[in-house]
């Protein structure tokens, strides 16, 4: 079992600007229509900011908010698809013999956003970028837990972000439905306590349409102040389930 404490939280989802909007979204009363907007990232200097794609902007926006409130700390950037829209566009440019944008290419690797984050903050504290399919949240928690248990850090910043994948590939993976970035400050003592454990469940595969994005399901349950929630994904013909218990709201 994994025991972690959420000390602070920041959420970016299109059109949800106020805390009350985010709460309404968590409660299930707010549907999200992507308006293509991106937040202004004040924590990144203009010369670097102008090169960021939308996903870079939203993830650095939540990261910036959290370090402003909690100070700088080691960071984990976690995304299932990364900047998939940019990547596919570059591949198309290659196929059609168009020149590839050097700026986009220079920021196309998975750890580019975490790199910009440390450069913008002039920091030499550890940062890492992970990708872990549908289980991104759980693996992000494992990484954070390992860092908190073995390193000097008292708190670790986790930023989990994704955007919808290009239309051509939607039928293989319809998630996420809209771009999002979730920032969590995790520690071992202070904040909302989360006890996470994988549970055995005999059930077969879950119906495709009823699987949500793990990070979003987790945050919604926490904002609703639920005492526990189950995070599920399909693994072949069976389902994988993690139980999360919340304490100390």
């Amino acid at each position: 079992m994994l025991e972690l404490f959420v000390k602070d939280l920041s959420v970016w989802v299109p059109t949800l600007e106020l805390e009350s909007d985010i709460q309404a979204w968590a409660d299930g009363g707010e549907t999200v229509l992507d308006d293509g907007s991106a937040p202004k990232v004040a924590s990144v200097p203009p010369a670097m900011r102008r090169r960021l794609g939308r996903l870079g902007k939203i993830s650095l926006y939540v990261a910036g908010e959290l370090i402003e409130r909690n100070g700088y700390m080691p960071s984990i950037f976690c995304s299932r698809h990364g900047e998939i829209q940019t990547t596919i566009q570059m591949l198309k440019d290659l196929i059609w013999n168009d020149e590839i944008s050097p700026t986009k290419f220079s920021l196309s690797v998975h750890n580019a956003i975490s790199g910009i984050f440390t450069i913008a903050n002039k920091s030499d504290l550890p940062t890492t970028a992970i990708t872990a399919g549908e289980q991104d949240l759980i693996n992000c928690f494992y990484e954070a837990y390992a860092q908190l248990k073995t390193g000097d850090a008292k708190q670790v910043l986790c930023v989990i972000y994704d955007e919808p994948i290009p239309e051509e590939y939607q039928r293989y993976c319809p998630l996420p439905p809209y771009p999002y970035a979730i920032g969590l400050v995790l520690g071992l003592e202070e904040g909302i306590k989360c006890s996470i454990s994988q549970v055995e469940c005999g059930g077969g595969a879950i119906e495709e349409g009823s699987i949500g994005v793990m990070a979003l399901e987790f945050v919604k349950a926490m904002l609703k102040k639920e005492s526990n929630t189950e995070l599920k994904i399909n693994s072949g013909e069976t389902q994988k389930t993690w139980k999360v218990e919340f304490e100390n709201y």
């Binding site: 010369a47 102008r50 090169r51 020149e99 944008s101 050097p102």
Partner: protein
């Protein structure tokens, strides 16, 4: 300001996504890289690609004279107009 110079300034602002910079902020003879507008080597590559797309001019990646061509709006204008004539 010539029409081409204005076009180049607009191209630079748009291609390099320069927030809060207008065509009037870019002086014809001021350096584009380093001290002046503060552009860097990735910007130079990006600009080279944009010039090739828009004017079909060939920018050699390793040519020493690129430094001269890309120095300011004025030198860039000269380079593009001469390439168009050639």
């Amino acid at each position: 300001m010539s029409e081409l110079a204005l076009e180049l300034k607009e191209l630079i602002i748009e291609t390099l996504n320069l927030e809060d910079v207008s065509v009037d902020d870019i002086e014809d003879e001021a350096p584009l890289f380093g001290d002046g507008l503060g552009l860097d080597s990735i910007d130079a590559l990006e600009l080279g690609v944009a010039l090739q797309k828009k004017y079909a001019v060939k920018v050699k990646s390793d040519a020493e004279e690129n430094r001269e061509f890309f120095y300011s709006i004025k030198t860039l204008e000269k380079f593009v107009s001469e390439s168009l004539k050639a």
